[in-house]
């Protein structure tokens, strides 16, 4: 019997994968979203988290980039 799970396939670089893993770990157990860690740069997550991950990542990146005050 084949089990099918609907989900989202994420492909990213190593550090971002770690960022997502860390994000997942910081969530309460009920909100954990990573279904399968396929390899260091690929993962399979629940389908509804795409926007949340995107916004978290852009927030994180903004913290790390300097824009000349204008």
């Amino acid at each position: 019997m084949v089990n099918a799970i609907k989900g989202l396939f994420i492909s990213c670089d190593v550090p971002m994968a770690q960022f997502i893993v860390n994000l997942n770990a910081s969530m309460p157990a009920s909100d954990k979203f990573i279904l399968h860690m396929l390899d260091p740069t690929h993962m399979f997550v629940q389908p509804h988290v795409a926007d949340m991950i995107r916004s978290k990542i852009s927030e994180f990146r903004d913290q790390n980039s300097y824009e000349k005050p204008s």
Partner: protein, 766 residues
């Protein structure tokens, strides 16, 4: 992050209010509010676009190099044939904001205009030259602004003549206004014969023209400007000078005084016999900066800004040689005191007995009536109890009247220390030298009042083109974090250790190792590696077996390491903590690798670059198209996706404003080199991670020097709080397997291959 690079390369087009953030400006509060409503302005970016269509283009605009905007911003085309003249003029009247290769941005500020007036430019000259150079008709606002800002500046001069202070002005009505003030009136010393009527002493002085601008003026204006001018003056009580000066500041009477020293007519202070040696040929920009200082045969106080390695000391020595009076030279630490004393002997004919050094361990008495004394700011400003010897010398410094007070690296010295130094020493003329007139605390404004206006600032790129300083290739090397390090970096409980984690990133280590190896072996370069983080400094240096110098390295050991680095072909790389930022003179080095740095300090970045700016090799090789177009390299290693990216970009701003561009390198080390570098295996990396995480708290932060960049702090014993276990030596990392001895540390842990063993020992193990 991908966008960041593009942003940096682009010449900034910014809203006017952005400009003063770096420039000398007293609107610190204003800047602050600007920052606050940043978001608001970002939102309506469209509105920011300004309409310049109503500016009238002159018919021959193609021949003119300037664009002047109503808001005080000026753009200069550097490819114009008039560039050189226009640059000299602009640097005198405006503050450089950003100077990339083909287009410079300047900003007119009240302070920059004050500096212009103080070097002898008059309001009418400023406006007429500007309108000649501008492509468009000068906007009304600019003309009004110049009039308003220069109306009172430079109208009054404070002149020391034969040890009497005179307030001098070409406008008698201004002097009358001043005398209405109570304090100034009381400070006045009236000549006995003319009681009552406010008569002024009238004297003639040769009218002055700042050199270089004549060719831009018509003959008629020139004739008018060089006519003799009458000056009126009254004498004031020397003890009241400070008060009078204060009354004249913009917040009171608003007639800021210029200070000048008529050293040729000073017969009271003994002359010092010193001339520049014939082989000391000041370069064109050095001449120019000196001509700004001695524009009218008198010496003006002020600041001269030249990049590191461009020969600031020759400017200082030349100034002393022109004034030919006693000179007090202040440096930041003991090492640079020695260097200054050496420079004086090198460039001038001063006799050895006329020059003396005064540092905590080198107290030379002065001999003779006049002489040069080289000392540190701390020695003069020191408030505590002194030894008997130094008390005597300091008394001598206090009592003497100095012709020139020469101050090195003025940007590092806190304002209160300046006040103290200036109040202790009586000097006729003050000259400040610096490479980077930026401070993270934006306190540069203080220098304007304490020393004087900025007299000259050189353009870095022009000096590079002229071959006077090295042509540096700047590169930012992006090192991705490894999986394990990044995972730890993200954990909340490691927030304090972030700095260690991104500094110790194995990919960064390997990039560093590769660069060192490449430059040592392929090019035979001399390399300095900078790390502010003590843990990173010691780990890198030990693993790579290179000597290092940091705060608590003794003076003897420092000298030994530096000597080896300079002279031995075996020592080609040294590791320095931030003690190396200023004033350790290492002319041999031509490569800098920066592995960790102090947050976002623009000044530190520029000072570090300055360590390799001194030009090396033959002059013609360095020119564009020569054999070695780039002969110096500045690498900044950055762990991507970390805070370091933020700081790194911020740090580069100063250099970018000087026209440097940073190349981003993403593929270091090259894949085929990987197995030859350290930390190749995951196990090694994990071990490194464990070490980094267990580093003691006092090791992971930025090194704190007690008195920043001062020689004294580095030599005396230090007192610090710490845990009992740390003092007794049982702190975490002590049990790790490497000895603290430098160089031989980190020796191989694997048993040696018996075939390589020395034959004496071979027997023993057989």
């Amino acid at each position: 992050m991908a966008g960041g690079d593009g942003d940096r390369a682009r010449a900034p087009k910014r809203h006017k209010s952005s400009a003063p953030s770096r420039s000398i400006d007293e609107t610190a509060e204003l800047d602050y509010t600007d920052d606050v409503d940043d978001d608001v302005r970002d939102a309506d970016r469209e509105v920011k676009k300004r309409d310049f269509t109503k500016l009238e283009l002159k018919p021959d605009h193609a021949n003119r190099p300037l664009w002047a905007c109503a808001d005080g911003r000026i753009f200069l085309e550097t490819f114009s044939p008039l560039y050189k003249q226009a640059y000299d003029f602009l640097i005198a009247i405006a503050e450089p904001v950003c100077r990339p290769e083909s287009m410079h941005e300047y900003n007119l500020t009240p302070h920059s205009l004050y500096a212009a007036v103080s070097v002898g430019l008059e309001t009418s000259t400023i406006i007429s030259v500007m309108s000649k150079l501008s492509k468009t008709k000068l906007p009304r606002e600019i003309i009004d602004f110049i009039h308003a800002s220069t109306a009172n500046y430079g109208k009054v001069k404070l002149v020391l003549k034969k040890n009497r202070y005179f307030v001098e002005s070409p406008f008698p009505e201004v002097l009358k206004t001043l005398l209405k003030d109570d304090i100034i009136c009381r400070a006045r010393i009236s000549p006995e014969d003319s009681v009552g009527a406010p008569s002024f002493t009238i004297s003639k002085t040769a009218g002055e023209m700042a050199s270089g601008h004549e060719d831009l003026l018509d003959g008629m204006e020139l004739a008018a400007a060089t006519e003799d001018k009458e000056t009126h003056s009254f004498e004031i009580d020397p003890s009241q000078v400070e008060n009078v000066k204060q009354r004249c500041l913009p917040n009171a009477l608003n007639f800021p005084m210029l200070e000048e020293y008529d050293f040729r007519n000073d017969t009271v202070n003994p002359d010092l016999e010193m001339e520049l040696k014939p082989q000391a040929r000041p370069r064109p920009y050095q001449e120019k900066s000196l001509s700004k200082m001695f524009g009218n045969g008198r010496a003006r106080s002020g600041i001269i800004v030249l990049p590191c390695g461009a020969g600031k000391s020759l400017v200082g020595v030349s100034a002393a040689c022109r004034i030919k009076k006693s000179c007090l030279c202040l440096a930041t630490n003991a090492v640079s005191v020695d260097q200054w004393a050496f420079q004086f002997k090198l460039w001038s004919t001063i006799k050895d007995e006329h020059i003396s050094r005064f540092t905590s361990d080198n107290k030379e008495k002065f001999r003779g009536m006049a002489g040069v004394v080289v000392t540190t700011y701390n020695m003069v400003a020191f408030g505590g109890k002194r030894s008997e010897d130094s008390e005597k010398i300091i008394e001598e410094i206090r009592n003497r009247e100095w012709g020139l007070l020469l101050m090195d690296e003025v940007h590092v010295v806190p304002a209160h220390m300046f006040r103290k130094v200036i109040s202790i020493t009586k000097s006729h003329c003050k000259l400040g030298l610096t490479a980077t007139l930026v401070r993270e605390d934006e306190r540069i404004t203080d220098l304007n009042f304490l020393i004087g206006p900025k007299l000259y600032e050189a353009n870095w790129l022009d000096l590079v083109k002229g071959g006077f300083i090295a042509n540096v290739q700047c590169a930012e090397v992006w090192c991705p974090m490894t999986k394990e390090f990044f995972a730890e970096y993200l954990k909340k409980e490691n927030s304090k250790k972030k700095q260690v984690l991104y500094a110790m990133n194995p990919n960064k280590f390997r990039a560093c190792e590769f660069l060192i190896r490449f430059h040592e072996q392929q090019r035979g370069d001399k390399i300095i590696v900078f790390a502010d983080n003590l843990f990173a400094l010691t780990s890198y240096a030990m693993k790579l077996r290179k000597p290092m110098i940091y705060g608590s390295t003794s003076h003897v050991e420092r000298t030994r390491i530096l000597h080896q680095f300079k002279n031995s072909s075996d020592v080609n790389t040294i590791f320095l903590s931030k003690v190396g930022d200023n004033s350790i003179d290492i002319p041999e080095a031509n490569v800098i690798i920066q592995i960790s740095s102090h947050a976002g300090s623009r000044r530190q970045e520029a000072q570090r670059l300055g360590r390799i700016l001194r030009a090396k090799g033959k002059h013609q090789d360095r020119m564009a198209g020569g054999k070695e177009e780039y002969n110096a390299f500045f690498y900044s290693l950055v762990s991507t996706d970390t805070q370091e990216m933020y700081y790194s970009t911020k740090r580069q701003q100063f250099l970018i404003d000087q026209g440097y561009s940073f190349k981003v390198i993403t593929s270091l080390p090259p894949p085929e080199e990987l197995p030859n570098l350290k930390y190749y295996t995951l196990n090694d990396q994990l071990e490194l991670l464990a070490q980094s995480l267990s580093a003691r708290d006092d090791m992971i932060g930025i090194e704190h020097l007690e008195e920043d960049s001062d020689g004294k702090a580095l030599m005396k014993a230090r007192r610090s709080a710490g845990s009992m276990s740390a003092f007794s030596g049982s702190g975490g990392m002590v049990y790790m397997e490497y000895s603290t001895g430098k160089g031989k540390a980190g020796a191989s842990k694997k048993p040696k291959d018996p075939s390589k063993r020395h034959y004496l020992f071979k027997k023993r193990y057989q």
